[in-house]
């Protein structure tokens, strides 16, 4: 089968951010870029499937020039080919889905399963997979933690709130977003990295979009007032704390 994985390049999750003057933009110049962690799960899943049925995995990413590095990493992990849709504009999930649909719809129609991550850890819109499925008129299944092929269908386990698991049986073409727990993404191996250098990356360019919103202001979370230590025996500590939480903080 053919598999298609959409991924996004995001700042490493341990990044400490700086704002540009005006506090409307993040200074991303010194940021270390990585593949969005949830998209890594998607990629790993597609690679594992392709290893079982000798299928092909194509990866696609929309973004500025440096996005190619993320695709190169994906190829080193085991994807077969990549498409970079170049844009310097920051697009939201719906626009990204539109770009991928417009540039690759022929290819996508021939793909059996399209994978993506549940959301990106930068903006956390989580709308990409659902939007792409809508454009392709496919069924969208989100938050997959296990996918099994049956004779004429897929059985997908979705992990939802409260430790509940939904098991769905789906027929026909799908877009699946995956989440933590589905697999453990591999690290690119040295031979993988060498091989990736010769794998093809096609470059396309995205049209410009009317933005859906503007950023008015960015801020850091308010710092917490410095800690108040509560002393005494365990009983005294408990008494003092309960009084403060009831009377001062009014959270009990």
């Amino acid at each position: 089968m053919n598999y298609f994985v959409c991924l996004k390049q995001v700042p490493d999750t341990t990044t400490r951010f700086q704002l540009k003057e005006g506090e409307k933009e993040v200074d991303l110049s010194a940021v270390k870029w990585v593949i969005n962690p949830y998209d890594e799960f998607a990629l790993e899943e597609a690679i594992q499937w392709s290893e079982k049925d000798s299928g092909k995995v194509e990866v696609c990413a929309v973004g500025p020039a440096q996005t190619k590095e993320a695709l190169r990493t994906a190829l080193a992990m085991g994807a077969h080919s990549g498409v970079h849709v170049h844009t310097e504009q920051s697009l939201d999930s719906l626009q990204t889905a539109q770009v991928i649909f417009d540039s690759l719809s022929e290819k996508l129609k021939k793909t059996d399963v399209i994978f993506c991550g549940r959301s990106a850890v930068d903006w956390n819109f989580g709308a990409f997979g659902g939007a792409l499925a809508q454009l392709l008129n496919r069924t969208y299944i989100s938050l997959a933690v296990k996918i099994e092929k049956k004779e004429n269908s897929l059985e997908i386990l979705r992990s939802v709130e409260g430790g509940l698991v939904e098991i769905l049986e789906v027929t026909g073409p799908v877009v699946i977003s995956v989440t933590k727990g589905i697999n453990t993404p591999r690290y690119p191996s040295l031979p993988g990295i060498m091989k990736a250098k010769n794998k093809p990356i096609e470059t396309l360019s995205a049209p410009s979009f009317e933005p859906h919103f503007t950023v008015e202001h960015l801020s850091f979370p308010k710092p917490r007032p410095s800690v108040q230590m509560i002393e005494g025996t365990a009983d005294e500590q408990a008494q003092k704390l309960v009084r403060l939480l009831k009377e001062k903080e009014q959270v009990l």
Binding site: D122, F125, L143, E161, S219, P221, R224, V227, E249
Partner: protein, 306 residues
């Protein structure tokens, strides 16, 4: 501005009703499959879709909401941010050419413009956005809804809308409980959380007891999830759930950065730890140095006094 608001019986929906009414000039509410739900005395239109039950089905929910949307033509479709709304509403936004905003902590109207506040980069930053593209779909973070006074329950006008199931590519949906869970951390107002300092899995019973006395949910650090003491859905932090309760009590948790990013939205943080130099204290409002096995029972005793 007109809003269409999805009310779910499984949530604290009186808060959402109040929030929507305080924001928009014109509001209509709808609910799916919850026939015997209580409503406050409001004059806004309420639509009740007569689905057999309220359980989620992507194709049914899309169809129902799409029809209501076309009928009401709202400027804003407002719903809570959770797994099923995130499953079907992005597709609906796409098909209606509406913009889409999730993980929203605040909505504001000013000079006929809509402003949205939402965290970025797992809460390291907060962004204020001005919405340019209307209509829009907004998913509100349940924990961001302000507390409201108790509503009197009323007998408002409710319009019933029939629903017939149809054939879909989804042949079957079954739901299973992956483990016994009580309150959920993602929407809880109070959370009692335990780390490796709790010693062993069995001692989480002590946290359960504390949680029960203040009707809190129980959370955990990754160390104890990895150790298999509790299931992953209880994990708080970067690779677990980002929580924003009014009260967070961390018991025997050291305060690693990945844990702390998960709780920075909490209003009041209390830390109990026997090591006075544990990093968790630097990020807490109140710190208690001591043994969890002495302090937690003392707290339970104090709180049970009422």
């Amino acid at each position: 501005m007109k809003a269409l608001v999805f009310i779910e019986s499984s949530s604290d929906y009186f808060k959402l009703i109040r929030y929507a009414q305080s924001l928009f000039e014109e509001v209509c509410f709808f609910t799916i499959g919850s026939e015997d739900m209580l409503w406050p005395d409001i004059s806004s239109p309420i639509f009740r879709v007569l689905k057999k039950d309220s359980s989620y089905h992507p194709c049914y929910f899309s169809k129902i909401v799409s029809d209501l949307y076309d009928q009401e033509k709202p400027d804003v479709l407002l719903a809570l941010d959770h797994s099923s709304n995130r499953d079907f509403l992005p597709g609906l936004s796409m098909s209606k050419k509406a913009s889409f905003f999730s993980d929203v902590s605040e909505v504001r109207l000013q000079d006929h413009s809509l402003f949205i506040q939402k965290p970025l980069y797992t809460g390291k930053l907060s962004a204020q956005l001005k919405v340019l593209q209307k209509p829009c779909v907004i998913l509100l973070n349940p924990s961001a809804l302000p507390l409201t006074q108790k509503y009197e329950k009323g007998t408002p006008q409710i319009q019933d809308i029939p629903f017939e199931p149809f054939d879909t590519p989804i042949k079957k949906i079954t739901r299973v409980q992956s483990s016994q869970v009580k309150k959920q951390i993602n929407s809880a107002e109070k959370i009692v959380s335990g780390g490796r300092g709790m010693g062993e899995a069995k001692n989480f019973e002590l946290l359960e007891k504390l949680a029960e006395t203040i009707s809190a949910a129980v959370g955990a650090s990754r160390a104890v999830v990895d150790a298999g003491w509790v299931p992953h859905h209880m994990q708080v932090g970067q690779t677990g759930t980002l929580v924003s309760p009014k009260l967070y009590i961390a018991c025997g948790i050291s305060g690693a950065i990945q844990h702390l990013v998960g709780i920075q939205g909490a209003q009041v943080i209390v830390a109990i730890n026997k090591d006075a130099s544990a990093p968790i204290f630097k990020k807490s409002n109140y710190g208690l140095v001591g043994d969890v096995f002495e302090i937690i029972p003392a707290l339970i005793k104090e709180l049970s006094k009422a």
